[in-house]
């Protein structure tokens, strides 16, 4: 999967906005949205929120977990544990990037939030690399990792599986197989 595809999936998450226009309920295939009334918060998917924000038709309210105190706790927790801790949202990285790019004026202390999320991401990626490394070394057959988000899986997924395929091919060629005949001239 491309990172862009993962971001596309992440844009379906709901976020709260405060619109400055009014519109009746709109019926889309994925569900209903609205009604929109100026000054009243409403939940919409992120793709619509970003579009409205770019057209200056709304104000974004950051999700509850996007707060300096909470993120500090999450980061410290992540650093303590050896395994992965649960994340506030399965798309925390994409949401942070989108909201901070387009709506940083609606999010207080945006720079610190960006740093904290990046720290957490780095810690998790380090753990993932360690885990993959030990998996390959010990030639395990089966591994179980909890609390990974799609974006993190996606970064190593393709590479890991292809690498394991290669390893398998190399290994099978090392062992003298019964069915491997060499050709006589």
């Amino acid at each position: 999967m491309e990172p862009a595809e993962v971001e596309f999936l992440a844009e379906k998450e709901l976020v709260t906005i405060v619109p400055n226009f009014s519109l009746d309920r709109i019926h889309l295939i994925g569900g209903d949205l609205g009604p929109f009334n100026p000054g009243l918060p409403v939940e919409v998917p992120v793709w619509l929120a970003i579009n409205l924000k770019q057209r200056q038709k709304c104000r974004l309210i950051p999700p509850e977990w996007m707060d300096v105190g909470k993120l500090e706790e999450i980061r410290d927790q992540e650093r303590k544990e050896d395994t992965f801790t649960p994340m506030p949202s399965p798309y925390y990285m994409e949401l942070t990037k989108l909201l901070l790019n387009y709506a940083s004026d609606n999010i207080p202390r945006a720079d610190e939030i960006r740093t904290l999320v990046k720290d957490t991401w780095d810690t998790r990626m380090a753990k993932l690399r360690l885990s993959a490394d030990s998996f390959v070394r010990q030639q395990e057959v089966h591994a179980k990792l909890d609390n990974l988000t799609l974006m993190e899986i996606n970064t190593t997924g393709t590479f890991l599986t292809q690498a394991l395929d290669h390893m398998y091919k190399l290994r099978t060629n090392l062992q003298p197989g019964e069915s491997s005949h060499s050709q006589d001239f």
């Binding site: 400055n20 057209r55 200056q56 038709k57 901070l100 940083s104 004026d105 999010i107 207080p108 202390r109 945006a110 720079d111």
Partner: protein, 628 residues
């Protein structure tokens, strides 16, 4: 007709339509265009953008697009001419004109249906009353010529006599009215000047609709600063407009003071500053900036050796070591930079430069990027008038337009480099003109002509650059000359425009006075002179468009307040003839505290007066020398 409610009578009409934007080539127009484009993008309005550099292009663009569009928005062009007559539009075409040129043509003011003016009413407009100018065509043939039968001859005669008397009375009245009308119109149209910046008008519109952003505010600031840099508005108007913008700036940017909730560093902030008047000093070295800003260079007379010494004294007075001052401003010692503004102001006062500081704004985003409004103006102007041709005609315009967005910093830096080159070229040309006495004072005006071989002369084939050069030249000349009379003369400047076509571009600048009202009378003078020249050589009716004459052609462009004229070389001679022979008289205007005001009473003489012949011969010889 003036639009009183911008939102209802302008924006809501065009928001559902396809619109053609015709934008003039100056920074104020670019900024207004950016603001309008941002509003259009929010509301998904379909529009086409056509940059126009003069009336020729305006007409061509209109003819090309008139079948597809009913709504035209003209930015910084079109208010001071009779639009309907020039463009001959259909009945249902609607023009919205947002222009800072004044005076507004009376036809545009009093047309109710097709021309809407987006102009603030509190600008001092002084439009003449309707009845003084327009009058219904009265049927003068009302008097019945029919023979009524059954009336006695004596009665008929009496009636006839009465009718004759009535008719002559009416005719006399009409003649008087027409004479008064001509006088009123002449007074109204003799001076050209500028009103509120179009970018500020557009920002007002956005604010009324509550769609104003910090970005748009910044563009409004740049538009106003452009008017100030090019000397188009008076100091008082500039300060008033800065006050208006300052309120908006505080409204948008008050969060920066709050430590707890301050915005991300990437967000754009605008700050009010009482900054130095030195051009581009934060992107250059302080020394270069002092040498290349017209104010300091003219006051210190930097073209002479004594001037250079004075500059050294000035720097020494402030305690700035030469080595520090000559390196990039950002690398100067922090201890020197801290109190720089106050130090410079103190020393400048000692050296006779009282206005070294000016109220302006600066923008700040990211960790590296800090620009002052005048920096952006210089950069955008030089991008727009870049002589290196890359691609079709409009690329420079589009590049300049793009450089105003925050995402295109590379274009902005390119613009800054070009601006530095341009300022250096201007100062060198000014220095050489003054040292070699190229500024001739003959008769009622100062005259200077740039020869083709002058270095960087190609840079001055564009109108705005040439205007800047002329203004700086006039300022420097006024500081350098000892002749009291010369200090109050206007300047006419000529430079080669296109070497292949052999055209010359001319600019007229009003005289330098302490409290000038920035009104330019050259418009009428040039028109009149060009008309006469035309009638003597080309026998063509005067049209504001290209008139081909063999392989040479000439065109008149009424751009900004300075009137720009492009002539073939051989016609320059005759042009000067006529310009000179127009009788100029100066009247002391007692109301304006004894400031001399140049009034133009156009009375063509049928020949050159004998007494002036000698002087004029000298002038012609000079011109001929320059033309070779």
């Amino acid at each position: 007709m003036f639009v009183s409610d911008c939102r209802r009578e302008f924006y809501e009409l065009i928001v559902t339509q396809r619109v053609l934007l015709l934008v003039a080539s100056d920074v104020d127009a670019l900024c207004a265009c950016k603001i309008l484009q941002a509003l259009f993008q929010c509301d998904h309005v379909q529009y086409t953008l056509v940059p126009v550099a003069g009336w020729q292009e305006l007409e061509t663009a209109f003819l090309e697009h008139k079948d597809q569009f009913k709504y035209f928005v003209l930015i910084n062009c079109g208010a001071n001419v009779d639009l309907l007559e020039i463009l001959q539009p259909e009945e249902d075409t609607l023009f919205f004109v947002c222009d800072s040129h004044r005076p507004i043509n009376v036809v545009n003011v009093y047309n109710d249906t097709q021309v809407k003016l987006l102009v603030k009413q509190d600008d001092d407009l002084d439009v003449p009353a309707y009845d003084d100018i327009f009058r219904d065509e009265e049927d003068e043939e009302e008097e019945s010529e029919d023979e009524s039968d059954g009336s006695e001859p004596s009665e008929k005669r009496r009636r006839f006599e009465e009718e004759v008397i009535e008719r002559t009375m009416k005719r006399r009245e009409r003649r008087e009215w027409e004479a008064r009308r001509r006088e009123i119109l002449f007074d109204y149209e003799q001076y050209e000047y500028h009103g509120t910046s179009s970018a500020m008008v557009m920002f007002d519109l956005a604010w009324i609709m509550s769609k104003d952003l910090n970005d748009m505010l910044w563009w409004a600031i740049v538009g106003l600063t452009d008017q100030w840099v090019q000397d188009k508005i008076t100091q008082m108007k500039y300060v008033t407009d800065i006050g208006i913008l300052q309120r908006h700036v505080s409204r948008h940017n008050h969060r920066n003071e709050d430590e707890e909730n301050s915005l991300s560093i990437d967000c754009m902030r605008i700050a009010f500053e009482y900054d130095l008047r030195l051009a581009l000093y934060q992107h250059w070295s302080l020394y270069e900036s002092l040498c290349n800003t017209s104010y300091t260079s003219a006051s210190l007379k930097l073209w002479s050796v004594q001037g250079q010494k004075r500059l050294q004294e000035f720097l020494a007075d402030m305690g700035l070591p030469l080595k520090q001052v000559k390196q990039k401003f950002n690398s100067m010692d922090m201890s020197l930079k801290e109190n720089l503004r106050e130090m410079i102001e103190e020393s400048a006062n000692k050296f006779g430069m009282k206005d070294l500081r000016v109220q302006t704004f600066s923008i700040h985003f990211g960790f590296k990027n800090k620009f002052s409004a005048s920096d952006i103006v210089y950069a955008t102007t030089s991008l727009m008038e870049n002589i290196e041709k890359e691609g079709p005609e409009t690329t420079n315009f589009i590049k300049a337009l793009d450089s105003l967005s925050r995402g295109n910093l590379d274009k902005l830096h390119q613009g800054l480099d070009l601006a530095k080159k341009q300022l250096r070229a201007i100062q060198q040309t000014v220095a050489s003109c003054i040292c070699t006495n190229l500024v001739i004072s003959q008769g009622p005006f100062l005259y200077c002509s740039l020869m083709e071989g002058t270095p960087d002369v190609k840079l001055f084939s564009k109108p705005v650059s040439l205007c800047l050069l002329s203004k700086y030249l006039l300022k420097s000349f006024v500081c350098s000359t000892k002749n009291k009379r010369c200090k109050l003369l206007p300047l006419v400047m000529a430079a080669p425009m296109d070497v292949e076509q052999g055209t010359v571009i001319m600019v007229g600048i009003p005289p330098e006075t302490e409290s000038s009202d920035k009104k330019n009378f050259f418009g009428r003078a040039f028109e009149k002179a060009a008309e006469s020249t035309n009638s003597r050589t080309l026998h063509n009716h005067f049209e504001m468009s290209m008139v081909p004459f063999g392989s040479l052609s000439w065109k008149l462009r009424m751009g900004p307040s300075e009137i720009i004229l492009a002539l073939p070389k051989f016609m320059v001679l005759q042009f000067w003839c006529i310009l000179d022979s127009l009788n100029w008289s100066r009247q002391e205007n007692q109301e304006k505290m004894g400031q001399p005001k140049n009034n133009l009473r156009v009375q063509e003489h049928n020949g050159i007066q004998v007494a002036d012949k000698v002087l004029k011969l000298a002038l012609y010889v000079n011109i001929l020398k320059c033309q070779q």
